[in-house]
Symmetry: C2
Subunit: 197 residues, 2 copies
């Protein structure tokens, strides 16, 4: 069966969306969240500002969609090879690479900093980006519990936060280097913390 053709207008829209996301992520990394404007995003993307307002009510909404469009890596959940520690090490090492990449880092940092001071933006940021992240780790730990590798009474949500909280803190506040050695150590400690006794 032939793949249905995408209508030209849909492809144009998709191209504009991508251009708007790229422009928003570039600009927020350059000027910070406070100085980011819809007009600036429109100019950088080469579209009219009405095009942006037709799809999004605010710069925050554009940015959150831009991140969500990029962040689909683990929509289906974390890998499950049956080896909890190996799977967590693999995924966190990939996150080390991602968060050490300046192209990713600048816009994410700008958004995280703005969220720290803005409860409404923060709620969206958490719901759209951070909660799904905590959830896939919690789910992977639950699968390990169902396989008998994790104690029945371990708090898996807090265990997931023990992987992601120290990682976020090192990255956001620069309290230490983000390295494979660090994330491997985190995984080792968390796996011991939740292990069956």
């Amino acid at each position: 069966m032939a793949t249905p053709r995408t209508p030209d207008s849909t492809r144009r829209s998709e191209r504009s969306r991508r251009a708007i996301f790229d422009a928003a992520l570039e600009l927020v990394g350059e000027v910070g969240y406070d100085k980011l404007t819809i007009e600036g995003i429109a100019a950088r993307a080469g579209v009219g500002k009405q095009t942006i307002y037709r799809w999004w009510p605010s710069k925050a909404a554009v940015l959150l969609d831009a991140f969500t469009a990029d962040a689909g890596d683990y929509e289906a959940g974390l890998p499950d090879t049956g080896d909890l520690a190996a799977d967590l090490r693999f995924v966190l090492r990939a996150s080390v690479d991602e968060f050490n990449d300046p192209k990713f880092q600048a816009p994410y940092r700008a958004l995280a900093a703005a969220g720290a001071n803005d409860a409404e933006l923060s709620a969206d940021f958490v719901a759209r980006l951070m909660e799904p992240g905590i959830k896939v780790y919690t789910d992977r730990l639950r699968a390990a519990r169902d396989q008998g590798q994790v104690a029945e009474d371990a708090d898996l949500r807090v265990a997931a936060e023990m992987l992601l909280g120290p990682f976020s803190q090192r990255w956001l506040m620069r309290t230490g280097p983000l390295t494979y050695e660090f994330t491997d150590t985190l995984v080792d400690l968390v796996v011991r913390a939740v292990a069956r006794r």
Copy 2:
């Protein structure tokens, strides 16, 4: 022996310092770090701005001194009753109370958010406030290791970050409530993670 009298000029200076710190903490909580100015601090404190410039080179320096003046709680280290879990629970419950207090929360949040986007400010913030915090926890874990309660090969610095990172993330990004139940669970998991096997 009589206590030596403090000269009047020293007492006046100490009163001015305290007034400047209070003004800086109040103002940054109200207007945010970006809009905080030395002039604003001086006006709120009822001193001339030259008085501030004589002692501090920048608003960041005033704020960091203001926090450090308040943050002396555990300069001598965490309590050590011989019961690691009980001591950690006690101290983290006190931190829950402190970080849920709006008077403390607003200025600390403003400074943390500014630091996320400003590498130089962040370095000072980490060196003056966060590192000493991580260090007292690492030291308490080391004392427990010396008492034979913690595995010889456990990474104590990362274990300390596993107590403080999830706490900071819940607080700064509002990913969950800061409660005694949460910190007690954190302590329980970390103590298991580092326990002798």
